[in-house]
Symmetry: C2
Subunit: 452 residues, 2 copies
């Protein structure tokens, strides 16, 4: 049983990110100013982001060099391993060949540092001294805390109050790396004080935390804001995942027939899939690419493709995307990273072009898959990638029936070391699936602005 | 900045364990029967351990082949990376070259699966159906739970009640991998019931949990017991760490001047150091090998070398070792894995022979070192290896003064994802160091049996 892990040396690590937009007949529709409904320009974004990232956001270059200082930090955990899931295949008695690309080896335990590191680097290079951001359960906040420290930047994180209270360890992780963390709503911003004056016991929300982090960035010239998903440059930074996986599969002479990733904002999914999509557009493979989303938050399978706000309270530009309505509140599934009302503009655009397929799965089936995976492969996955796993296991079962030796590549974007409370609920038989949210979506869609 | 991680391919993974005893002029003194004070034989151990492991315990063969089935499971995370700590070196402004061998990449997050996997394998091969063990905070219990599952064995773990209550996530981890976990004392054993009848609210202890696990193993013919440190065969299984590190350092053409590991029972330390000690005994290097222990539990630096019980309540054979007295209770430092009153017989023997040096460090200095490490290298270490880190940082500071380009190899035996409560205490400025325990040691030593 050889080639359990397919590894690359540091000298084999890719040195460019891939910008899929260069290979599309038309780019995704531009974001619009929420007041004028005109396309926004670099000047609108300059108060929040450094010019290098704004340039990447609108770039049509096919490849962008990864700066040496970023590669140096990537080497702390990259290249990440590609696993042939031989023990899972045996447990499933499937003829399918299953591979998974594992991003849990990063210091923060997920794919998020792949973009946090370059974001911190470009900000530091332009003289920025502090980054602000929001975080829910803490995956993104901890990635940015780690990255900011590597480049001598201060980092201030607004963590949703409910998570701050229930899951203190992600906060401690951020503090170990030197970040300052506040529960949101806080009394440090106008936005926070307004909420607290109305409800001193507010549990907060990602929308409120974004407002606080943005306000703090705008209030200080040497401070900027950082976002962990959705934007084009964030998805592009993640493509190092797929570039590595291409090299790794080439080493064992395999080509995927099916690539599966979970989708929340789309950055892990885009990171793995875009380089394989490039190869498909060039006629080099026939891979089917599948997004898997929670049944409780089905933006691709049940949302509409139209302009909507990226945040809950309507502060951001309008973005053309698959949306459930910007104030749609998903049921409290454990995959917190997939509880987003929209989908990145780029992934939405690809789905509209017919380049991707999508399915939605309930969380109980996802945790069933997680246990099967942990008991065969050892790794305990975060709740988010269990969606990709559940779809993989469905497919492997089909292959058991048909005898097809399908090659499946799955995105395993992080470990579940900070998610064991959700496993405890599952093992106690107390995990619930929610009613599918069709009526709630229809209601939220009524409040989406009409554009054009 | 190349060669941050020095990796090996799976085909370069060592296929034998190294048995240091083959290279010693005399072996460690044998364990004695607690009643007769005569050396114990295989028959005394057979009710608890399979014959293959008993054979390894007394073997004088220099190398023992790692079974293919064990190698197959090792491949889920081995070979583990050796890091050149370039960012730590820069932070310390030291000319020293610091390497660390990182075992946190295993599914359980520490070096413990290196022995849990072969122990499960040999038991399964001899028809055993269930393994029992004890665990404190859960590092060993989770490693055995994972390993047992890989070979279709049931696993029953008695977890010290205080840990069960305070740190539920290691328990959930064991359950995810299929183990049954009980708080100890439990009402499932005579030993547990006796303690509970005297104190229904007993917080338990490792000694009590051992008694329960051993009783359960003895009560069923198809059940055996498993131990995670101290024994010769356990240390031998861990030597794959050092064998890999030798190959990795050879790739970059470096030889350590100083090797540093933390010591609790000695298995992580022995695993990294014994292959390097073999090379030294053969005249191939001049490495100084240093044990680092907590000032609150200084078995090598303050204990006596004599026969004592391995457990607290005096059920085990008598073992010749450095001991603080079998009922010495260390202060509640956060490095739970180093709170052991004794030291493995083999490491004690080597120390007596003058082959090792030792120092003891207070936990505040260890956590200082941990923060420096986390902010430079990214990895958040478990509290145990921070002892080796603190000693490494002391040495790097000396090199800064002298300009010496000393090559230091440090054992980084696990991550701290389940230890963030201790970091929280440290960051809050509430971490304490304890009075050094000389008087308490002298008192406990009065109860050590006199042998021979």
């Amino acid at each position: 049983m050889t080639d359990t892990k397919i590894t690359l040396t540091e000298s084999e690590m890719p040195t460019t990110w891939y910008n899929l937009i260069a290979d599309l007949a038309e780019p995704p529709p531009p974001p619009l100013h929420p007041g004028t409904h005109e396309p926004i320009g670099p000047d609108d974004l300059a108060p929040l982001f450094p010019m290098a990232l704004i340039g990447q956001e609108v770039s049509t270059e096919r490849y962008i060099d990864i700066p040496g200082e970023v590669l140096d930090v990537y080497r702390l955990w990259r290249p990440s391993p590609l696993y042939r899931a031989r023990r899972l295949e045996a447990a499933l008695e499937t003829p399918a060949r299953i591979y998974y690309k594992y991003e849990g080896v990063s210091p923060a335990g997920s794919h998020k540092p792949n973009t946090a590191v370059p974001q911190a680097y470009y900000n530091a290079a332009e003289g920025v001294r502090k980054l602000t951001t929001e975080t829910g359960a803490g995956q993104w906040g901890s990635a940015l805390a780690f990255a900011a420290g590597q480049f001598g930047l201060d980092c201030e994180v607004w963590q949703v109050r409910a998570s701050w209270d229930q899951k203190p360890y992600r906060r401690v992780m951020m503090e170990v790396w030197g970040a300052e963390v506040h529960p949101s709503p806080s009394d440090l911003t106008e936005a926070g004080r307004k909420i607290l004056s109305e409800d001193p016991d507010s549990p907060g929300s990602l929308g409120i935390a974004i407002s606080e982090a943005v306000e703090a960035a705008l209030a200080d010239e040497s401070t900027k804001y950082s976002l962990g998903s959705v934007l084009n440059h964030v998805l592009m930074h993640q493509t190092i995942i797929g570039e590595e996986a291409l090299l790794q599969l080439a080493k064992v002479g395999d080509t995927p027939d099916l690539l599966i990733g979970c989708t929340g904002g789309g950055s892990n999914f885009g990171g793995l899939s875009f380089p394989f999509l490039r190869e498909r557009l060039a006629g080099k493979n026939d891979v089917i690419i599948r997004c898997v989303e929670p049944a409780a938050c089905p933006s691709l399978t049940k949302g509409e493709y139209r302009y909507d706000f990226g945040d809950t309270i309507g502060m951001t530009p309008l973005i053309k995307m698959h949306t459930l309505g910007h104030d749609f509140v998903p049921d409290p599934i454990h995959a917190g990273g997939l509880r987003y009302h929209g989908m990145s503009s780029l992934v939405s655009h690809l789905y509209e072009m017919g380049l991707l397929e999508a399915e939605a799965i309930d969380q109980t089936e996802c945790f069933d898959a997680a246990i099967t995976f942990a008991r065969s492969e050892g790794i305990i996955p975060a709740p988010e990638p269990t969606h990709a796993l559940a779809s993989t296991i469905r497919e492997a079962a089909r292959c058991r029936e048909t005898g097809e030796e399908k090659v499946i590549l799955t995105a395993m974007c992080g470990h579940g070391h900070f998610d064991l409370a959700s496993y405890e609920t599952y093992l106690a038989g107390e995990l619930v699936d929610y009613d599918h949210p069709d009526a709630k979506i229809a209601e939220a869609m009524e409040r989406v602005p009409v554009v054009g």
